[in-house]
Amino acid sequence: MPDKVYPDFAAAVADIPDGASIMLSGFAGPGTARNLIDALYRQGAKGLTLISNTPGRWQDDRIDSGVLVKEGRVAKIHAAFTASPHPSVPSPFTDLYEAGKIEAELMPQGTLAERIRAAGAGIAAFYTPTGVGTEMADGKETRVFDGREYVLETALHADYAFVRARRADRMGNLQYHRTQRNFGPVMARAAKVTIVEVDEPVVEEGAMDPDHVHTPGIFVDRVVAVPPDGIQEEPPQR
C-alpha cells in the first residue's frame, strides 16, 4: 500500500502545477489548512482556481487563502462571499476583483456545499430551491416540482483539496473536532487528490473506532501532522 504520511508540508504540495483547482476547507477559521496554504505559497504555483467559503482574509500574522489572492496567484474563485461579510474584515480579494484582475463565481453557501457534495457523489447536477427568483438563478434552468420552483446546479470538482482535521491514522482515516469538520468531508470526496494536515501525530490503523471515522481513508491521499512549531488554529482574539 502506498504510504500516505508525508514528512512535511512542502513535500505534500510539491507537485501542484500552475492552473490547478484547489478546494480549501475552513469556515471562520476552524478547518482551514493553514500550513498547506503556507507551503503552497512558498512553492509558487499560480493561475490557481480556489473553491472555498470565502476568498480569505489576510492579516500579517495569519495565513489563509488571502495570502495567495493578494500575491496575484489566484485566477478564479468560487465562493459564498465576494465581499467581506463585515466591513471590518479585510479582504485582499476585493480590490483585485473590482479591478477585474480576478474572476469569481458567487453562490449561496448551501449550493456551494451541495455542488461539492455532488462531485463526490457521482451526481452531475441537482435541483435546489435556493436562489430562485434572485440574481443567482439568472441564466440558469429552473423547473417546477410539486408546485415549487427549483434551479439546476451542477457538480463542482477540483484537482486538490486542502483539509484540516484533528486526527488521522496511517490509512488516512480522519476525525475532526467540532466545527473544524465543515467542508472537510465533502471536499475530501470531491477532489482528485486530498491533502490533509492534522492537529495530532498520525496514529496507527485501528486506533479509531470504525463508527467514529468521519472521513474514510480511501478519500485521503496525503497526510501531514502539524508539528508543535507549525501553524495552529487561530486562538481567540483578545
Partner: protein, 223 residues
Amino acid sequence: MTEKQPLDRQTMANRLAMEFHDGWVVNLGIGIPTLCSNFVHPDRHVIFQSENGLVNYGPLAERGEEDPNLVNAGGQYVVEMAGMAILDHADSFALIRAGYVDVTVLGAYEVAANGDFANWKVAGAKGGGIGGAMDLAVGAKNVFLALEHTTRDGKPRLLERCALPVTAVGVVKLVATNLGLFEITEQGFLLTEIAPGYTPEDVQAVSGAQLTVSPNLREFRRR
C-alpha cells in the same frame, strides 16, 4: 405626551425571540439577530442551529473557555450544550433546505411589502456576501427580520418592492425595526406594535411602503 423612544437592538431582538415556540430550531444571523439568544423565555426551550454544522449549541464562550474549533456562523466562540451534535457543511445545509429550521432571524438592507428582502449586496458593488442567507430564507419555516427602520441617511428600508437584488422572494413573515413590529400579510406591512412616543403617522413618514395599522396596535412588547 411621551418622548419618542426608538427601540434599542436588544429590545428588537427580544421581541422576535418572544415568538419562538417551545422546541423550535432557531438559526440566528450576524448582527442584531444574534442578540435573540440573550432572551431566555421562562417556560420554553429552543435549539440553536448554526449553518457551519452546529446543532444545539450553547451561549457565547466566556473569555478563557473558548475552544478554537467551536464557532457559530458569525465566527464567535460558543460553548457546548448537553445534547450538541456536529454535521458537515453539506448535511448542515441539507437540514436547512429540508425545513428542519423553524425560524431564522436575519438582518436586511431592505424588506418589501410582498415579503421579499435584500441582505447580500449593496448598491453599486460588484461583489456580494450571500453566505447561508439564501438557503435559510427558502428553507426555514419562518423568516423574521431585524433591521433599523431607515438607512443612516434617513432613507426607508421598508419598501413596496426591493431596489437591491433580493435574497429570497415572498418569504418574510415578521419584521422588527427600531420603530415597531410588522407582520407581512396579503395586504403588505401590518403595524402591530410601535415604539413609545411614536404615532403610526410618524412611522409611515419614514417608510417606503403603505402601512396598514392593526386595530389592536399596542406599544412594543418588552416581555
